[in-house]
Structures are given as structure tokens and as C-alpha cells.
């Protein structure tokens, strides 16, 4: 039984047992009610304790969350200030719109590029803004169509040019603005590219002109090439006629002519011979690049002695090959012409009683460097360039039989292979002609030189 009730019964009835028997159920009910109230109180107190504890925890958590949120807010403010500074520091005009095309933000450069008055910007009225913008454009409808197409296709990025009536050209980029996974709008950026576009147009124009010029040049080249060939060819026949006639005169009536006449006829034959050589040289020269020859392995250790034999130098001249020469992969005739011309020059102009001519070669990974050295008269430095030009000879025609074509031919051939030719010489001491040949010869050189050869 409830303790309080027991005490009360003891107080009023002496003891719990002396209460009237018929009242027992009543006391029972009262006891239960007491117990019930106690239980209720305990339960409510307990629940309030737990509840307040829970609320305290929630409060602490909320306080922490508020702190975190404040930090996040500061970060956000930082980001916003960075974004604003970035927006305003760029040379591009930037405009941000939502999915409906309503203006959500822009930088000052945007207003400047589009020349939008501050009063109009302040209204924030999309339609007014758009019509103001359209009025400035060469193709307003095209602009509008593109904008509307992009609003229909929110994921698409764009990049195009917009032409203004006043001649300016803006480059327009646009990209969707994505928040999480959702596209919430579009960022447009505009850049003034008027100067660039104008420069491009100028460049295109110049390129076209250049192309036309080069086509014209090529045509002229071809004509010239044909001309040189035909002319040289046609000149040879009458020259042969003159030679034959002059020889007949010498044979038939040489003894009837005075000594002076015979000498003049001899000179005539010499000049005819020189003219013949000139024409041959021109023919050879014009044939270079016209006639295709297959590249084969050419062993210079065999070729150079052959050439030396062929040239039949006077016995006073010694020709030596100082080093082992390489095997080249090239056109045999051409490389023959190079050595032949250099060696024949060295022999022809030799002015020393004991002539020495040396052929040699050094090599790097990229190229061979050949030389043909002599102890002949040498060449004044001021002529070191000139000698490679067509028809340039340093001595009087009558002193040495020279066409002035040989070195030009050498230069053309070496350059045809992508090499270089030059001379080192001191007057009176001899000359050394050098030329390089790359170990691999690309086709582009060939192409390029075909044109230059014809010139």
C-alpha cells in the first residue's frame, strides 16, 4: 500500500489494520490513485529532464552550425568580391542572364562595348535592352535568331562574330551557367576584335595577291626556261655552219690568205668554239631540274678518280684524294658535274710549275663537307661571291677558255641537294672550294630549287 496512505491511516485509525473493513476497497482505490499520481509525476519529470537535455544538445549543435554557416558566409563574401573584381578587371564585356533571358548581372565593360546608357541599364528592362542592342547591328534578325536558338538549347556553347553598323566586330562566347546539375542561365562574353578581324582581312588579301604573283611568275619562268632551251638549241645549228665554213676557208684557201687573215680565221674558230661551249653550258644549266634522273648509290672513291682520268691534267699537276670518300645516294651525272667543274677549274687556272690539287671530305652527323683545294693563283676576296654568278669570269676570255657557267652550275646542284658552296682563298697562294651535302636530302629542296634553277 502507498506509504503516505499508510501513515495517514495510522494517524487517523491508530494503525492500518484498524480501519473499518468495509472501507478497504476505498482505501485501495485511494492508494492506487496516490501511486498513479506519483508515477505520473516521475514520468513527467523524467521526460522533461530528457527533453531539456535533448534540447540543450540541439542548441549546441545549432550554435555550431551557425558558426559554420557564418564561416561559409565569409567565404562566400570572399568569392563574391573576387568574382566582382574579376568581372570588372577583364577586357571582355560580360552579361549573365537566366533561362528566360532576364538580365541577372553584367560588368561595366559590357555596357561600354554595347554603348548602353546608364539610364537604360538601370531600368533592367530586357526588351528595351535587346531592341537597343539590335539597332546597332548589321544583321539584327540573325543575332536575335541565334539568341533565341540558344535559349531553346540551354546546354549548347557558342562562339561567333557580330558585326556592327559602325564597322566594329565583337566576338561573342556563351556558355550555360550550371548550379549543381541544373542549368540556371547563360553567361555571355563579348570581346572587341575589330583590329584583329581587320588585320586578318588584310592578311588574306595580301596572301591572295601573293598567290596571283607567284602564279604569274611561274608562267614567266616556264616561258623563259623553254626560251633558253629552244634558243640554245637553235643557235647551235648556224654556229656549226659558221665553223664548217671557216674550216673550209682555212683548208681550201688558207695558203692564199695573208698571215693576218689566217690569224683572224683562227680567232674566228676560237670564238665559235667558245660560243659553242657557252651554248652547251646554258643547255646543261637549263636542263638541270628539267630532266629527272634516278638516285643511285655513287661511290665517290671510284667516281672522283674516273673524273681525274677523264680531265687528263698535265703531268706537272698532282691530284690527290686525301681521305676515304663516302658513298652518296644521288644522281650520278649531277655529282659528276660538281667534281668535274671544280677539278677542271683548278687544273685550268693552275699557274704554278708544281701544281697540287687535293680532294677531301669531312663529315658530321648531318652533312658531308667536301673540298677541292689547289695551290693556283687564288681569288681576291672581293670576288668570292661573284664567281658563283652566271657568266662571271675573272680573267680575260682569251687567256683561259671559260664560259663562266661552271661554278654557277656547281652552286645550283649543291643547293639542289640542300647544301652550300663557298670558297676560301688568298691571292697567289691557292683556293679551296668547299661544299656541303646533307646526308639526307628531302624533296622540298628539290621542289624549291627547280623554280630557282629556272630563274
Amino acid at each position: 500500500m502507498n506509504k503516505l496512505l499508510l501513515r495517514q491511516m495510522e494517524k487517523f485509525f491508530g494503525s492500518g489494520n484498524s480501519a473499518p473493513k468495509e472501507l478497504a476497497p476505498l482505501f485501495q482505490a485511494i492508494g492506487e490513485a496516490y501511486d498513479g499520481f506519483d508515477a505520473d509525476r516521475r514520468l513527467i519529470e523524467r521526460s522533461l529532464d530528457i527533453s531539456s537535455e535533448e534540447l540543450t544538445q540541439i542548441n549546441q549543435r545549432l550554435r555550431k552550425e551557425v558558426g559554420e554557416r557564418r564561416q561559409a558566409e565569409e567565404k562566400l563574401q570572399n568569392s563574391v568580391s573576387l568574382l566582382t573584381a574579376t568581372l570588372e578587371s577583364t577586357a571582355d564585356g560580360i552579361l549573365v542572364v537566366d533561362r528566360q533571358g532576364t538580365v541577372k548581372g553584367f560588368n561595366q565593360q559590357f555596357a561600354k562595348l554595347w554603348r548602353i546608357p546608364a539610364a537604360l541599364l538601370a531600368t533592367g528592362d530586357d526588351h528595351q535592352l535587346l531592341s537597343f542592342v539590335l539597332d546597332q547591328l548589321v544583321d539584327g534578325q540573325g543575332f536575335l535568331d541565334r539568341v533565341q536558338q540558344l535559349y531553346r538549347e540551354p546546354t549548347v556553347e557558342s562562339n561567333d562574330l557580330i558585326s556592327f553598323k559602325d564597322g566594329r566586330v565583337l566576338e561573342r562566347y556563351s556558355k550555360p551557367q550550371v548550379l549543381g546539375r541544373e542549368i540556371i542561365g547563360r553567361v555571355w562574353s563579348f570581346r572587341d576584335v575589330t583590329e584583329r578581324v581587320q588585320a586578318q582581312e588584310k592578311q588574306t588579301r595580301l596572301l591572295r595577291e601573293l598567290e596571283q604573283t607567284s602564279q604569274r611568275l611561274e608562267r614567266v619562268n616556264q616561258e623563259l626556261k623553254d626560251f633558253a632551251h629552244v634558243v640554245s638549241h637553235d643557235l647551235k645549228a648556224p654556229l656549226r655552219g659558221i665553223k664548217t665554213l671557216a674550216e673550209w676557208i682555212v683548208t681550201d684557201c688558207g695558203d692564199q690568205l695573208p698571215e693576218e687573215g689566217r690569224e683572224q680565221l683562227r680567232l674566228l674558230l676560237c670564238r665559235v668554239e667558245r660560243m659553242h661551249n657557252l651554248i652547251d653550258g646554258i643547255l646543261q644549266y637549263s636542263r638541270l631540274g628539267r630532266i629527272q634522273e634516278d638516285k643511285t648509290p655513287v661511290d665517290l672513291n671510284a667516281l672522283v678518280p674516273e673524273i681525274v682520268d677523264l680531265l687528263a691534267a698535265p703531268p706537272a699537276i698532282t691530284i690527290t684524294i686525301s681521305e676515304e670518300l663516302p658513298v652518296l645516294h644521288c644522281e650520278r651525272t649531277r655529282i659528276t658535274q660538281v667534281f668535274q667543274n671544280l677539278l677542271s677549274n683548278a687544273i685550268k687556272f693552275m699557274d704554278k710549275p708544281a701544281g697540287r690539287i687535293t680532294v677531301g671530305c669531312t663529315g658530321t652527323e648531318e652533312a658531308w663537307t667536301f673540298h677541292v683545294a689547289d695551290n693556283g693563283p687564288g681569288i681576291d676576296e672581293k670576288y668570292h661571291e661573284k664567281i658563283f654568278q652566271l657568266f662571271q669570269t675573272l680573267s680575260a676570255r682569251d687567256q683561259y677558255e671559260s664560259t663562266g657557267i661552271g661554278l654557277t652550275l656547281v652552286k645550283k646542284i649543291v643547293e639542289l641537294y640542300g647544301g652550300r658552296v663557298w670558297v676560301q682563298s688568298r691571292l697567289g697562294e691557292g683556293s679551296t672550294f668547299y661544299f656541303t651535302l646533307p646526308r639526307t636530302q628531302g624533296e622540298p629542296h628539290h621542289e624549291r630549287l627547280q623554280t630557282s634553277v629556272a630563274c
Binding site: 492506487e32 490513485a33 498513479g36 516521475r42 513527467i44 523524467r46 521526460s47 527533453s51 534540447l55 540541439i58
Partner: protein, 379 residues
């Protein structure tokens, strides 16, 4: 409209509660009693003899309400004679909780809709999801028809409940009475008087009326912590802390009470749905607020301008009885005081109440921990 009330206890046998004898003519006998007594076939036979022309509709209870008193382990039968009102009856069985919606729909379809003004429903109290049952009824009834009723009880044992129409049948039963005609005036009210306390708790895991977690914690742990020494009395003692559930975006609150606990998975089964993602708060009560709540409910059930009702059906939650204990009669008295001495009261302590959210609304909802009153009168 005439009422004849009888009451049976082991000690007294059948006794008349009200004087007017219209037993032969009554069409409806409303019977409420404890499971044990109802299971005795003799009792129902006696009721059929008392009201030979009446359909007998009733259920087991967690306490019977007769006149202005509350009884345990008794049986009450209230004969109702309608002079200007037609009745229709329907019943169905429910295999499992999942069948609750269909049961409601079937009952609603079984009743003629022509002239139907009100449906009173009694449902098995342990194997039916009251929310789903109410939804099922709503789905097939005209919008103009209100539904009131309740879920049968089994003291504070939560073991077996009975619902019957004329005879006790096998299976979990739901029975419905349809009221027809323009002369019957039916009012209803539903009020609790509980106070929410403590923090809002997010329902993080639930399935229909089974709740697993609040704020990520097993719900059973929360209740055990709050109940302390009383945790061993679960699920009954869980009724001391019903859940207040925010519905319609927090605009309205529904009360959910506990039907069962599951020690294995830490879940608790409630009398109606507790949707995942909704917010719940614990509630507590005191005697005064509950008694006031019952009076509020009675006031709500009065139809403005109509005379005092002839009969009031009180369906009050077992949770209230557990809080009120010996003072449980006070809430019935406060209803009697509010409605007036001429209104006959019957009803029972239930495992759930069904009533629209307000007097001007028709759509039925499941409630818990309320005093839900349906009043009847004829013009």
C-alpha cells in the same frame, strides 16, 4: 428517434440504463464489450432477443462507455430506433495491414450512394492500418459523405480485437453502417488535449505505419529512454507519449499512437501511417487538458442551431484512459455536461478514431489519442 440502453456485468447481469422501451422496433443495436465477454455466444444471443428486429453491430474495447460512466469487463448494448432514417450495413475482412485500403474501398462500394449522408465504421484494431482504411473509404465515397468510427480495442493488452455484424465471424473484420435520408442530423468532433513537447524529430525511416528511426536513431530506444522504469509496460505505456505528426506542410497535426513494438528491429507499429520525411514530436497529457479536450470535441460535434442530439457515440483512445486512470469518467462527464442530460451516451475506448479533420470537412482521417464524438438526431 428512440434509444434503449442495456448494460451487462458479471455481477449484475443485464440491467436497463434508460427507461424508454422501444426494443421491438429498433433497427440498430450498438454493442461494445470486452473480448472475453463477447466471445461467449450466450451474450450475443441475449442481445438478439432484446432487440429482435435490429442488426447488431459492435466491437471489443479497452473500456465501455455507458451513460456517463466508464466500465471494464462489461457489455453494453444500445438499441436505436430511427423514425425517418434508413440504414444499410456492410462488412468485409482484412487479411493483412496491406489490405486496409481495399477493405475501405470495398465497404464504400458495398453501400448504396443514393441518399447516403454518413458512414459509421468499426474496424479490427490490430491488423488494420487505420490511415489506409480511411483513404480507401474516401476513395470510393461521394465527397459529401463524412465517415466517423473507430478501431476496436483489447484493454491495454494489444492481443486480440473483435468486430462483428450480427454474429462473430472468423477473420479480421471491418463493419460499416450507412445512414440515409434528409431527416437525420449527424455531427462529429474530434479533439485530443495533448501537448507536444521536446524537439521536432525527423522520421528518417518508416514504412506505412511502421516506424524504424527518428533522427537516425531506433525509435524503440527513444521510447525506452523516455519511459525509464515504465519501459517494461510497452506497448501500452508507449501510449503515454503519442507522436504528433505534422501534415499538409505543417499546417495541421495528426496524432499517432502505438499498436505494437518489435524488439528485434527496434521498430514500432502505429495505428496509422507515419510517412518518412515528416516531422514528429512527442506528446504528453494531464488530466485537466484531456477533460477539456473531450468537452471541446463535444462542442464541435454539436450542429449549430440544431436541438440537443438524441445519441452520442463516444470513441476515446485507450491512451487517454491510461493517463486518466481513476479519473477517466471525468472526460465522459464533461461530454455529457456539454451535450446536455437528454443525450444518451455510448461508445468505447479504442485503438484509433476515424473522423474528418474538422466539422466543416468531410474527408475522414485516422486520429489517435482523441475523444471522437458522433452525434445523432432526427428532425
Amino acid at each position: 428517434m428512440k434509444i434503449a440502453q442495456k448494460h451487462w456485468t458479471e455481477q449484475t447481469g443485464w440491467k436497463a440504463v434508460s427507461p424508454n422501451g422501444v426494443s421491438d422496433r429498433t433497427q440498430l443495436a450498438l454493442v461494445f464489450g470486452s473480448v472475453d465477454i463477447l466471445k461467449n455466444p450466450a451474450r450475443l444471443e441475449e442481445i438478439h432477443r432484446l432487440f429482435p428486429n435490429a442488426r447488431v453491430v459492435g466491437c471489443s474495447t479497452a473500456g465501455e462507455i455507458v451513460a456517463n460512466r466508464v466500465f471494464d469487463n462489461s457489455l453494453t448494448a444500445t438499441g436505436v430506433f430511427f423514425e425517418k432514417t434508413a440504414l444499410q450495413f456492410a462488412q468485409t475482412t482484412v487479411e493483412s495491414m496491406d489490405g486496409s485500403f481495399d477493405a475501405g474501398r470495398k465497404l464504400a462500394e458495398a453501400l448504396d450512394h443514393e441518399g447516403l449522408v454518413h458512414v459509421f465504421v468499426l474496424s479490427d484494431g490490430l491488423n488494420v492500418n487505420g490511415s489506409a482504411l480511411a483513404k480507401g473509404l474516401r476513395s470510393a465515397l461521394p465527397d459529401t459523405v463524412a465517415v466517423t468510427g473507430g478501431l476496436a480495442g483489447d484493454q491495454d493488452r494489444f492481443q486480440e480485437t473483435l468486430v462483428f455484424l450480427d454474429a462473430i465471424a472468423d477473420g479480421k473484420t471491418v463493419a460499416a453502417i450507412g445512414f440515409y435520408g434528409d431527416q437525420v442530423q449527424i455531427g462529429y468532433g474530434s479533439r485530443g488535449g495533448w501537448d507536444s513537447f521536446g524537439p521536432d524529430r525527423l522520421v528518417t525511416r518508416s514504412k506505412a505505419n511502421v516506424v524504424y528511426e527518428l533522427d537516425g536513431q531506433p525509435i524503440l530506444q527513444l521510447y525506452q529512454r523516455y519511459l525509464g522504469e515504465f519501459a517494461s509496460g510497452l506497448p501500452a505505456t508507449g501510449l503515454l507519449f503519442p507522436l504528433s505528426l505534422a501534415v499538409n506542410d505543417g499546417q495541421e497535426r495528426l496524432v499517432r499512437t502505438i499498436l505494437a513494438i518489435n524488439e528485434q528491429d527496434g521498430s514500432m507499429t502505429f495505428a496509422g501511417d507515419v510517412p518518412e520525411g515528416s516531422f514528429a514530436r512527442l506528446m504528453k497529457a494531464n488530466v485537466e487538458r484531456l477533460v477539456d479536450g473531450a468537452a471541446d470535441s463535444a462542442r464541435q460535434s454539436r450542429i449549430a442551431g440544431a436541438p440537443a442530439p438524441c445519441l452520442a457515440m463516444l470513441i476515446s483512445c485507450v491512451g487517454r484512459k491510461l493517463v486518466l486512470k481513476q479519473r477517466v469518467d471525468e472526460e465522459v462527464e464533461s461530454v455529457q455536461d456539454t451535450l446536455g442530460a437528454n443525450t444518451a451516451l455510448t461508445g468505447f475506448y479504442s485503438y484509433g478514431e476515424i473522423c474528418p479533420m474538422g466539422p466543416d470537412r468531410k474527408q475522414a482521417e485516422l486520429h489517435n489519442q482523441t475523444m471522437t464524438i458522433t452525434t445523432f438526431a432526427e428532425r
